[in-house]
């Protein structure tokens, strides 16, 4: 075998000269910022023997996130001014769509870091590793958002996932954390194997993994019998559906969300879902756009299942984290409604939904982080009883997030639902629009249940004593900032929706095909 290898090396002179592709660094500044910052942090932390000032890791990460965000914004402007382009041998693409996701993921990094700071100190887990992983995983998500090649999608997905497996297991004293990591890892590996097989089948059917090339191939050829391609697409859907928590690939979600350290859950729910949808939307809407008639029914069914299962299962939960996990599943259903429409408006709706959802879910989990207290264990509905009388501000903020998730007017949550519904209706998918709205009714029930509990004083004397024995919840600065930002975003852009709607709409318009 080795001989064969050597013999081949011998005949290399007949090949054309090697042309290394141009590397457009500006096309991936946000990713590079985060990866660089991660390495830098690792380096500084390992060189520095003294204990750094409190919160410096988080601050560093947040700053890195802000820089990445600014860089993403720069990309957005650049795309707006000079148009979209592909970079690094067509491996990634810089368009409004990618800039949108880059910005979104930067935001999750900033907010995630701010929430994690006090949490990690509370749980005595502080250290640079968490933030390094946070930034790396975000970078993976960004690659997914900017990917122009299935293998880049896959690698981004793996970077995202593998770092998240570790983050999930990060709370070493919580057995749930370990179990969640184990489940997440096994299922994640399984689903990425499926995803990979899907890539392989698509590769076989089209001869390429490059999204543009696949699209071009599909545009130029009519495959009479495209079973393998369909199977490949199906497996791609399995992999990405797993990532976004679409039914029936959702089953890890509640367990992992519940088990993971709460800030990680928040980050996972926001960033990982956003990245998954970035890839899903791009792959299906642009690359397989011509095969929309093939995938629309599937997405329809998946969306409906996701909506129904997510909301009905959330209904019967008593653990807040788990409830929010199921609710995030049902949110994925709404984003899928946008995809199902298969129109530009649909994609815009999905993007807007993700935007609104990111802030709502980060805010929600920030509160859950606080209420969970030391040990990250107090997540039962009963732990929220009477929260309004103890911490009215906190309760009000949570109410805002829950109401927004329920789709109450004058929040971004309503406009998000409204946007995807309009897309569905415009595409004449009335049934799914209606199912979506009815699922919202079911969903409203469990959001309201939490609100009721918060605003109902504890009737039981024992419970009261138990609650009184606990120290008063302190609102750490970082979490406070997160709550302020997320609440303000949710309400302000619910009342003045134009900027964010424009953002999402432009992002969908500047999606490079």
């Amino acid at each position: 075998m080795i001989a064969a290898l050597l013999s081949q090396v011998a005949q290399n002179d007949q090949l054309p000269p090697l042309r290394v592709p141009q590397v457009e660094y500006k096309a991936m500044v946000p990713e590079l910022v985060l990866m660089g910052a991660a390495l830098l942090l690792l380096l500084i932390a390992s060189l520095n023997r003294r204990r750094p000032p409190v919160g410096s890791y988080a601050t560093f990460t947040a700053v890195a996130g802000v820089v990445a965000g600014v860089a993403s914004w720069q990309q957005w402007r650049d795309v707006a001014d000079h148009g979209a382009y592909r970079a690094v041998a067509n491996a990634i693409v810089v368009d409004g769509f990618s800039a949108f996701f880059l910005l979104l993921i930067s935001v999750t990094v900033v907010l995630g870091a701010l929430v994690s700071d006090s949490y990690l100190r509370r749980e005595e887990l502080d250290g640079p590793e968490f933030y390094v992983l946070l930034m790396l995983t975000a970078a993976g998500g960004m690659f997914m958002g900017a990917a122009n090649d299935l293998i880049v999608v896959f690698l981004g997905l793996e970077i995202l996932s593998i770092a998240l497996y570790v983050l999930t297991a990060f709370h070493r004293r919580r057995l749930e954390s370990q179990e969640a990591a184990m489940k997440y890892f096994l299922l994640g590996a399984f689903s990425s194997a499926l995803f990979l097989y899907g890539i392989a089948l698509v590769y076989g059917a089209t001869g390429s993994t490059n999204l543009v090339e696949i699209g071009a191939y599909l545009a130029q050829n009519v495959i009479v019998s495209n079973g393998l391609l369909l199977a490949g697409m199906g497996l791609l859907l399995v992999g990405l559906g797993f990532k976004v928590g679409a039914v029936p690939f959702h089953m890890w979600t509640p367990d992992v969300y519940q088990g993971a350290p709460t800030p990680v859950t928040g980050f996972m729910a926001a960033a990982s879902k956003a990245a998954g949808f970035a890839a899903l939307l791009r792959v299906f809407f642009t690359t397989f756009g011509l095969m929309r008639l093939d995938w629309q029914p599937v997405i329809w069914a998946v969306a409906v299942l996701t909506l129904v299962v997510g909301s009905t299962l959330a209904l019967v939960q008593s653990d807040i984290k788990r409830m929010l996990a199921y609710s995030s599943i049902s949110h994925a259903g709404y984003v899928l409604i946008g995809l199902q429409a298969g129109t530009s408006r649909g994609v815009a709706g999905s993007l807007y939904y993700l935007l609104a959802y990111t802030f709502m879910v980060l805010g929600s989990f920030a509160i859950v982080t606080l209420v969970g207290r030391r040990g990250d264990a107090l997540h039962d509905l009963d732990n929220y009883r009477g929260l309004a009388s103890r911490r009215p501000g906190l309760a009000l903020a949570f109410t805002v997030f829950l109401m927004a998730q329920a789709g109450i007017p004058f929040t971004t949550g309503f406009l998000a639902k409204f946007y995807v519904i309009t897309a569905a209706v415009q595409a004449h998918s009335y049934a799914i629009a209606l199912i979506g709205m009815l699922a919202a009714v079911v969903a409203a029930f469990f959001y309201l249940r939490v609100i009721v509990v918060m605003y109902t004083p504890t009737g039981d004397a024992d419970d009261d004593a138990e609650v009184a024995a606990l120290p008063r919840l302190r609102l750490p600065f970082g979490t406070g900032v997160v709550l302020a930002v997320t609440t303000a975003f949710t309400i302000a852009f619910g009342i003045v929706p134009q900027p964010m709607i424009d953002f999402a709409t432009e992002a969908s318009r500047r999606l490079l095909f």
Binding site: I408, F410, F414, V425, L434, V452, Y455, Q498, I501
Partner: protein, 520 residues
Amino acid sequence: MIAAAAAEAHNAGFPLLSAMVLLPIVVAAVIALIPRNRTDIIKVVGLLGSVATGILTIVALVDFDTHAAGFQFVTQHVWIKEFGVSWKLGLDGISLFLVVLTGVLFPIALAGPKVKRDVKSYIAWMLVLEGACLGSFLALDLLVFFLFFELTLVPMYFIIAGWGYENRVYASLKFFLYTLFGSAFMLVGLVALVFLSTKGGNPLTFDLVTLADRQALAADTARWIFLAFAIGFAVKVPLFPVHTWLPDAHTEAPTAGSVILAGVLLKLGTYGLVRFGLYLFPKASVDLAPLLLTLAVIGITYGALVATVQRDLKRLVAYSSVAHLGFIVLGTFAFTSQGLSGGILQMVNHGLSTGALFLLVGMIYERRHTRQIAELNGLQKTMPVLAAVFMVVMLSSVGLPGLNGFVGEFLILLGTFVTHRWWAVVASTGVILAAVYLLWAYQRVFHGEPSEENRNLPDMTWRERGVMLPLVGLIVFLGVYPKPVLDRINPAVEHLIQHVQDHSDYRQPGVSAKHEVVDE
């Protein structure tokens, strides 16, 4: 339609309507900033806020051009360009009195019943609710309407869940979810309407007037979408058979909540049917009128029957609302000037009389701490003034001529009789049944010899009398001299009926044109 556009006078000056909607919400925000324990300041600020809003509505009433059919005081600002949504508010004869009713009822509801717990949040929510209600009545943009329509749920939900009675959690959830269920259909229908109206290159818009004038939908599509709207509004009205949230919500809500719920919120449904059902879908609403009329008639008789055997006084009044709102829907889908005008007038009437009834029941509850009819008796002896006021309000509810309820009911029944004779006849039996259940309830509660627990209850205080006075005054005034109100309602109603005739093959029968009106 040109007339309507022309009549849409753009008042360049003070944005009266926006102020009306935003003022209470701003005051609510201000209250949120006042420390919790300064309840005295909070109460004063809250009451002043709602009174000021009430004054704005009265200003609108005074400035209202009586003879114009179109929308007045219109303000319009683009809100979401992407969807062609704009902040467009306007007032016409159909909404005018509902707005005034809202402006009047809220101060009364705030001033009337006392609240013990967490006054701050309570008043803030009430004010938000007021803003949302006014927004719903004034909105001329479908999405803005829908937003306000939905927004009303939140404060009402909190008011029921926070300050209600024993079973409040169940009732408030049911209220919220049921209405949300209805709006789910409505939203889909609404969006479908908007998008289907873009056919032929029309720009995307949520503007009510534009959409109503476009009439771009095929007949059967319009019917489906109308049905979607109708479901949303029917739940809110509530129309049989989607009424069961109402008794629970009413029973468990605190007094002010019940007053507003009955007085204002239910009107959102009937108002919606008129404003959006008839206006946007003239043909479909004509086609489907028999369905809605039938449901209305069932509601009237059925609501009355069920009310008869209720053991809880508030529940009884709640079921009476089912019956009364059946009348309003009946009038709406009669498609005659009388029916429609009567329906709109009756919305106001029902707000006044049922609102007053709930206030009175609340007063009884405050004294006696029960609403069970069986535990109450002989109250007329202990509280003669309250009993007298109750009697007046009850007779108004029964539809006694000379009081407001009669005028509305008469016009509705007459208007319905012109086009749908047998429905009107059956509905008229509701008049009998109303007497049965209300009088029976009155007898059980107020008549007889008071038992020990009911003997030493204080009569109405001066504050309570002050609260009831405007209501009773209006009840009598509207019964004796409804002309000023009807004069303002009529142009808009005539215009709406003309609109329906323009877009469907329906023609309002000219009275006395036919000589033989009973089939031989």
